[in-house]
Symmetry: C2
Subunit: 285 residues, 2 copies
Amino acid sequence: MHGIDRNTITDAVIASFDAAQDGRMKEVLGALVRHLHAFAREVELRPEEWRTGIAFLTRAAAITDAGRNEFVLTSDILGLTSLTDLLQSVPGATERSVLGPFHAEGSPELPVGADLARDNTGERVLVRGRVLDLEGRPVRNATIDFWQTNAEGLYWQQDPSQQSDNLRFRMALADDGVYAFTTVRPAPYTVPYDGPVGALLRAGGRHAWRPAHFHFRVLAQGFAPLTTEVFPDDDRYIDEDAVFGVRASLAVPFVKCDSASEAAKYSLPSPFSRVEFDFRMSAAR
Amino acid sequence: MHGIDRNTITDAVIASFDAAQDGRMKEVLGALVRHLHAFAREVELRPEEWRTGIAFLTRAAAITDAGRNEFVLTSDILGLTSLTDLLQSVPGATERSVLGPFHAEGSPELPVGADLARDNTGERVLVRGRVLDLEGRPVRNATIDFWQTNAEGLYWQQDPSQQSDNLRFRMALADDGVYAFTTVRPAPYTVPYDGPVGALLRAGGRHAWRPAHFHFRVLAQGFAPLTTEVFPDDDRYIDEDAVFGVRASLAVPFVKCDSASEAAKYSLPSPFSRVEFDFRMSAAR
């Protein structure tokens, strides 16, 4: 008796990968098939719905290029990117958040304490803290890669009116693990919604907004690279990030300060806002 | 307390679609998110594996065009296309199988009993049967859309040496529901394996072969359109179709015949092969 029926197809597909050399690949593909089929069975997926899914992917393909990946965005708005980050969490270490599409190598090097705001308008902010290990000791020779939007919610890559490399830097830290810089408060912005993801968000009654955030990538020899975001805890979208990147530990107060000595030390107007955030790095795996 | 953690993210993503107008869409998206997250949790999906998945989709996007859809092929080789067909099964009706990429409108019209083989080489086959309803009564005014490969496993669209429209037809049936035609035996062929699906098949220890088949699309007023395939039950790949399209009821004998009268009636050499297959149509939904 040849052939497949609805009771045997899932096992048949999983068994088709039996000869895979890579055991982990076999495990992941087997689970993917099992869950994908369970989804189709549970909702009794209709042919026209299958076609809608294929059309979604085909439209995502058409809008994807070197500068935009609609598949990443799909993963983001379905929470899969954030879930993958969360599954990497190490107790006691800083929580991870999405990398996003605006990180790029080659940021200008700035010294600890530098001013990033320059001619940017907006609320002035002092950001400072330390890079620590899980025991609270300073991590030596860490570097911080940092990027943020301006006060209009735009990265320099999106906005010809900004100077190249605006509001991003790379900072090599000393043995005390201390970092500090002054900048402007970033603003919420929308993920791209002119493609199939946008259509899905609209049909799903959702918006495309992300809360404002500072984006950090912290690297140090012997430690797992850490990509994360720090959010103002009073942001309008703090509880409804379109890509589910907010973690309780990453939402922090932008504290109003009127310390004249600190303002003078960092050439800030008074009052200014202060953000204190320490990174806790876990060991490299 | 703002933010998402690994225990709350799945419910948060599902809840984000609460305002969707379309209840069915909400149901399908909710189930998709739940199963997708369950997959990631079960295998503890690693960031590099997530990137592998994104790279797969991005490569699939790059190779997809008007004539080729790597997302459909991905669905095919993971059995999702066939599962969707199987979920549509109506007891007593002919089982469905994948449409595939080689169906096109505009087939030449042929009368019942016509010869499709013409100058094609290969084993000559008489195919005949009836289009019936679930009670076994002839379906009136049915049409059959038919397409197959030649004896080298190629459709005319793939092979400049074949005449346009080779080995395909549209046939309008009389009130008795009888169809018949003569042709050549089709051959196994591979699904495209020069893209990411091919790489996945190779990494998974799988081949890209489909067993030979006749492809039918049967239409009649008042009945659900039926797309299916009929396979020679002795095909080398009958138990290992790369797209899981074989059903026990669709694998049929190619019976060797030496009836001189039948050979004469259909202008066939003797012996020839005979395939008898009745279609059972379910009511339109």
